[in-house]
């Protein structure tokens, strides 16, 4: 069984090994990595490993980030979705977070919000997740705006490697 989520303009589907080249194009762009850790990937092999790592999460946690594809052209534009964090992050462990990363040509069109709205809906209404977390570098205005737009609120500011991050949370209103 493959899950696909359809929104107005997007299809959200599992990341596939055939996405490797498009992932590499996105993740080798330093601008995409400006508010991550400024460590864009350098080889296509790294992109393949990332996809394999996410696909392992699909099996272990029945969820992981999904590819974001334009409905009209079937073009891969990035990823978005839920991750079950079984490793510690900002003193938390075993929680779901929501995240996204789009290739630069697809910024500023509302795609990340559209995908994230769908994922939050899926998390709360289908998976019945109790609480959603997220994090964005404080300087990353676009990412902070998306998280606020989908309804998450800042609950904490913290430092990671001397960089300021905002921590976001939202409780499932239906539980």
């Amino acid at each position: 069984m493959n899950l696909i989520i359809e929104t107005e303009r997007l299809l959200l589907r599992e990341l596939l090994l055939s996405d490797t080249e498009a992932m590499f194009k996105m993740d080798s762009n330093p601008i995409v990595h400006k508010y991550l850790w400024n460590k864009p990937v350098e080889t296509i092999n790294e992109s393949r490993e990332i996809i394999e790592y996410v696909r392992k999460q699909y099996i272990e946690h029945t969820i992981g980030r999904f590819a974001v594809v334009l409905k009209e052209t079937n073009e891969f534009i990035g990823w978005a979705g839920l991750k079950y964090n079984d490793k510690e992050l900002n003193n938390r462990i075993n929680f779901y977070d929501i995240g996204y990363r789009l290739d630069e040509p697809f910024w500023g069109k509302g795609y990340a919000s559209e995908a994230s709205f769908a994922w939050l809906d899926y998390a709360f209404n289908t998976m019945k997740v109790q609480k959603m977390d997220a994090a964005a570098q404080s300087e990353n205005a676009a990412s902070n705006r998306i998280l606020q737009k989908i309804g998450l609120t800042i609950t904490e500011e913290y430092l990671e490697d001397d960089v300021r991050w905002n921590w976001y949370e939202l409780n499932n209103p239906n539980i």
Partner: protein, 177 residues
């Protein structure tokens, strides 16, 4: 947000008002209703009511049977999926029932198995249900075979509105994916 389940040959999605011709084709066929009480529908309005009823379940229960389409041409071939059954059947109440129904020309091609398997995956891996139930009238060999093939366990028989039926269950701890 619309959820679509993809299998090798099929797409499963919410039933839509525009599926009413497909439902009418399915549910007006006496052969399809052989083991369903022998009372096929006669009007397109009844098909519309069936869809409205299922769509109400999506809202109230967050789940209901889905339309099954052929992936290659998006043709409607029937429905499959999970239903929260609130009434009492065989001593069970408020349980998730797995079911399916296909237009006759699409029988015996493994579509029932393929769709039912995807729904069982969804029940355990997405909805994290503890137990999934199903039943089929005695004599409905096609349906019985599908339930056995996806790993459900026949735990007995019971009478449902004067028809003797087989009862099936599967607990997630016995689910082999």
């Amino acid at each position: 947000m619309k959820i679509i389940i993809e299998t090798d040959r099929l797409l499963l999605r919410e039933l839509l008002p525009s599926d009413k011709e497909g439902i009418f084709h399915l549910d007006s066929d006496m052969d399809v209703h052989e083991y369903l009480g022998k009372n096929p529908i006669k009007t397109i309005e009844e098909a519309q009511n069936i869809i409205d009823f299922v769509r109400l379940q999506y809202q109230e229960n967050g789940i209901g049977r889905w339309a099954v389409l052929l992936k290659e041409n998006h043709e409607f071939i029937g429905w499959a999926g999970l239903k929260l059954v609130k009434e009492n059947i065989n001593g069970h109440q408020n349980f998730y029932d797995l079911g399916y129904r296909f237009i006759k020309s699409f029988w015996q091609k493994g579509y029932g198995y393929e769709a039912a398997k995807a729904c069982l995956d969804y029940a355990f891996n997405v909805m994290h249900l503890e137990t999934v139930y199903a039943h089929a009238m005695i004599g409905n060999e096609g349906s019985k075979r599908i339930l056995e093939k996806i790993g459900m366990i026949n735990t007995g028989t019971f009478f449902h509105e004067n028809d003797e039926c087989l009862w099936f269950e599967l607990n997630k701890k016995d689910y082999r994916g």
